[in-house]
Symmetry: C2
Subunit: 306 residues, 2 copies
Amino acid sequence: MENILIFGHKNPDTDTIMSAIAMENLESKKGKNAKACRLGNVNKETKFALEYFKQEEPELIENVAEGQEVILVDHNEFGQSVDGIENAKILRVVDHHKIGDFKTSEPLYYTAMPVGCTATIIFGMYEQEKIDIEPKIAGLMLSSIISDTLLFKSPTCTELDVEVATKLAEIANVDINEYGLNMLKAGTDLSDFSPAELINIDSKPFTTNGVKYQVAQVNTASIEDVLKGKSELQNAMQEFIKENSEDLFVLLITDILENNSQILVVGSRIDIVEKAFGVELEDNMAFLPGVVSRKKQVVPVIDKNI
Amino acid sequence: MENILIFGHKNPDTDTIMSAIAMENLESKKGKNAKACRLGNVNKETKFALEYFKQEEPELIENVAEGQEVILVDHNEFGQSVDGIENAKILRVVDHHKIGDFKTSEPLYYTAMPVGCTATIIFGMYEQEKIDIEPKIAGLMLSSIISDTLLFKSPTCTELDVEVATKLAEIANVDINEYGLNMLKAGTDLSDFSPAELINIDSKPFTTNGVKYQVAQVNTASIEDVLKGKSELQNAMQEFIKENSEDLFVLLITDILENNSQILVVGSRIDIVEKAFGVELEDNMAFLPGVVSRKKQVVPVIDKNI
């Protein structure tokens, strides 16, 4: 059997990639033979951060063998995880999401906290183990927090996230605001994505009471720009739910400067979204002022209306 | 809304009761308004420990209201939890079992470790919060570890359990072996239980791939004594699975001095047990040398054969 494999969710975002790398670092300092992996291409924001801190991308994997020892970061739902996860041996989960579509056949380590970012939890694990965080790893973990909290502006951001980010910035020796804005802006360059790629950059499936739905999010400095390709996006979303037998696709187009989102919705159960947010969709769209967090402001609201 | 309610599983054992009390103590020292509860009668072993350390039984509850804030200790599966758990707000879970039949609609604190006992994990939480454990609470937590690890003899027992128990015994000022044997023996007095009561002392339901099964355990110093009521026990087990539409009931009769178990099995899927343990049941029974842990030696083996 190979090393312990550590990975976050499919369609990896910055927290998923950096948390896998940080956990590899922590586990290896504890004497374990562990390797960070990724389940998809890194996005432009993540690429910016990896290059800034001179860190290579983790290796791509597509499935795991039966009995493979694994550590999950930044997710727990099997539908978001690697193919073959049902028959892997899950040693540990470090996560900050709701729990669902997850089970094991044996006891394990599970550390979850309702904070903005997985890296914030991993910071506490370094502290508990009394292991120092080196500057490069601190920079990567800081990038996670900036990404997941949209530079502390998301309602998912907690005091602990801000506190940990401040300490990490000191170790990494970067200016949070300057570095953070540059990193977030790098992620908003959507120019060379096809519609099918764009709805897949940061997209997650959910299953609640038998309803299968997808929520994707893109960050932008101009919602209007993204909506220029509205009909192509809608077609790509329709195609996606057809292929994956889903009932609903919500695309969250988030303005990271103004902290609002426009949603574009397709599927046979768009009624759930209308009920959840108390809106009537016009041309399959609605504007949601102040909504920037899929995890806190979108998925729980949808779940409660299924 | 009431205080935060803290409780372990139905058919409470010593770890479930003591961990709820310890968490109430820890939460209140953190300034939270929390109350330990229980979901059933305390058993004789637990009663012995509560009386020894002069602690009252937690209050009995049977269900929780929608939106009630709760903390789960020593379990996570909804089938083992309070009625109404699906609509409660689960703030935190502290547990040492496999995860299954569990989900939330929002992120939460979840601390699980593959150790022998929930109290061992709670000890670490006191340490992390830099809160001293008072002698009475230390005695109750020590009782949890002794109970769940059968005085360190169960394969679920880890080095950490032994280390924590040693520290707790020092704080509580008791001799682990002397106190421990007395406590375990108090739990083996089965004289005034009816067969229906006996199979319910420490009984847990599980659901895996659609198969519903029950695993109950009784500790004894003489397996032979318990088997004097074999046919009555079998009838009670048959009755139970009929009422609860289950496919299988495994009663684990564990000799706590010799560390072996006899299993008594009924139901339409006894084939699963025969396959799982590679035995042929005779008169619905099989002897399993060295098997004392439902969690580590019984449930995962059954699950893998469903």
